[in-house]
């Protein structure tokens, strides 16, 4: 956010979520909403994350458990299909991995610097004991 001078912002400890007037916001997808630069949707609030989830769509059954349980609405789901993770908001808590019911899990936690393609290529196999 631009560092404005004392006379360049609206008074009060107040921030606007959207630019201009909004209409039917509940029926508008996040990417189609006109968020201001002050909104935490626009800003990255994940720069302290140490471990991150990686999503392997080969095993996902689109049960939506991760989407429901994510405390930061960071699971991106469209038409009831998991399509990715919002890395600007994910804090790396691992709850999505915990609730994932597939075998092997479709989401696993890795160090922040881990490479997605490398990790998916060496994804764990099905656990026969558990199955």
């Amino acid at each position: 956010m631009a560092k404005k001078g004392w006379d360049e912002f609206e008074i009060g400890a107040m921030l606007r979520t959207f630019n201009g007037e909004i209409e039917n916001i509940a029926g508008t997808r996040q990417e189609d909403r006109s968020y201001t630069e002050n909104s935490s949707y626009t800003a990255s609030v994940a720069d302290w994350r140490l471990i991150k989830p990686i999503f392997n769509k080969d095993y996902c059954i689109d049960c939506q458990f991760c989407w429901i349980y994510c405390p930061d609405v960071s699971i991106i789901s469209r038409d009831k299909k998991l399509i990715g993770i919002d890395m600007d908001h994910c804090k790396g808590c691992g709850i999505c991995v915990e609730v994932c019911p597939t075998n092997p899990k479709s989401l696993l936690m890795f160090p922040e610097q881990a490479d997605e393609e490398v990790e998916i290529a060496s994804w764990p196999k099905k656990d026969e004991k558990e199955a």
Binding site: W6, D7, F9, I11, G12, A13, T17
Partner: protein
């Protein structure tokens, strides 16, 4: 639901609390969140009664503490309502944390502070300790010396506070019991005239505007906090004083009653002056007139607007004096009196070399008698005659025991 109007006589016999409650009714306050405390209780009780009897449309929110009372007012003001409450002393002290929230969030709230001493020892009577506690909180503070002024200043407070160029909360002070519980004749406005003067509430950044969602009360760190505080201070210093003057002028036009940021009495040729606040101003005026009959050119300066402090007007009011007594009705606890310091600061760079002495008086509701003021004016005259301050700079008036003087 329609509410009933009240037919008032031109002059009603009201105490300061009832006068304030009537002003809240006439302003048609939407929300009063309150936790009653002596001596301010009848203000919020009065509003509740008016509401119960259908003389006002609004919400009375009973809360569990003064901290919650002001928090409720902040929430209601952020939502977009006309908001007021009242408190005193310990309740005011508990409110302090939220006072800074209200002003920093730039929310209009009118808080009646019926001035009362701060414990310990516990005391329900009037002094200015609580008023002084609020002076750095970023609120506008105005002081009423009588029930009439408590009524008038409440009506004016909404208009100042809610103005979109100001958006700062306002405290209306009156002396506990001496003003709050002493009935006097109060010139009234009709309900319509009072409401028209206060005006329709105009929301700004209100949370009930669902087409423009806002987050109130955000957190800022070293990157933004300073700019917000600077803006608030700037608006108090530069925008509030002309707005206060504008509202005072509009009120005078409506009622003939003239208010000033600094109230001067017999100051045109005064050589000795008592500078004070609250009910003491009225007593000092009476004594000053009596001193004039004895050949002492006495005058009185009362501070009407405590914050923003009228630095220039104070110096202007005192420029022709030879000796001034600054009365502080709050224990400075280890310093010169706060008002002594503020007035000294206002005079220092002006070349006005009046003899300035400070007095601590009236703590816990101790009377300031006419005899005290006669002695005080005589002491000031002695200073003038000697061409210097003949006492120490800080003395106590009306306390028992060996004489106390410092500095």
């Amino acid at each position: 639901m329609a509410f009933n109007k009240m037919n008032l006589k031109d002059i009603e016999v009201w105490d300061g609390n009832h006068a304030a409650a009537q002003a809240l009714r006439q302003a048609q306050v939407d929300v009063v969140a309150a936790y009653p405390i002596t001596p301010s209780t009848p203000i919020v009780e009065g509003y509740a009664k008016f509401k119960a009897n259908n003389y006002v449309e609004g919400e009375f929110v009973m809360v569990e503490s003064e901290h919650a009372a002001m928090s409720g007012c902040i929430g209601a003001a952020a939502a977009g309502g006309r908001v007021a409450t009242a408190t005193s002393s310990q309740g005011f002290a508990l409110m302090v944390e939220t006072l800074y929230q209200a002003s920093g969030m730039r929310l209009p709230v009118v808080l009646n502070v019926v001035n009362r001493a701060l414990a310990a020892p516990l005391n329900v009577n009037g002094d200015h300790s609580d008023m002084y506690l609020g002076r750095d909180s970023g609120w506008i503070q105005v002081d009423a010396y009588s029930p009439q002024e408590a009524y008038d200043l409440n009506l004016m407070a909404f208009r100042i506070s809610e103005d979109h160029d100001i958006r700062l909360p306002v405290m209306v002070h009156q002396d506990g019991f001496m003003t709050s519980h002493t009935a006097q004749g109060v010139h009234t406005l009709s309900d319509d005239a009072a409401y028209n003067f206060v005006g329709e509430y105009k929301p700004m950044n209100d949370m009930l505007d669902f087409e423009h969602p806002v987050t109130h009360g955000v957190q800022t760190e070293e990157d933004w906090h300073f700019e917000h505080k600077a803006r608030q201070h700037n608006d108090l210093m530069l925008k509030a004083p002309p707005k206060i003057e504008e509202v005072f002028t509009a009120f005078e036009k409506l009622t003939g009653r003239k208010y000033n940021q600094v109230e001067s009495y017999d100051m045109e040729d005064a050589e000795v002056c008592v500078f004070c606040m609250g009910t003491s101003v009225e007593t000092a005026r009476e004594v000053a007139s009596e001193m004039r009959e004895k050949g002492i050119k006495a005058g009185v300066v009362g501070l009407r607007v405590v914050r923003p402090f009228p630095f220039v007007q104070v110096a202007e009011a005192l420029k022709n004096t030879k000796a001034v007594a600054i009365l502080d009705r709050s224990s400075p606890n280890g310093a010169a009196g706060a008002m002594f310091n503020e007035v000294a600061g206002a005079l220092y760079n002006t070349g006005i070399r009046t003899l300035l002495s400070g007095y601590i008086y009236g703590l816990g509701g101790r009377d300031l008698t006419k005899a005290h003021l006669v002695a005080l004016f005589n002491e000031l005259q002695a200073n003038v005659n000697a061409g210097k301050i003949t006492t120490q700079l800080q003395q106590f008036i009306g306390v028992r025991g060996p004489k106390l003087s410092y500095l």
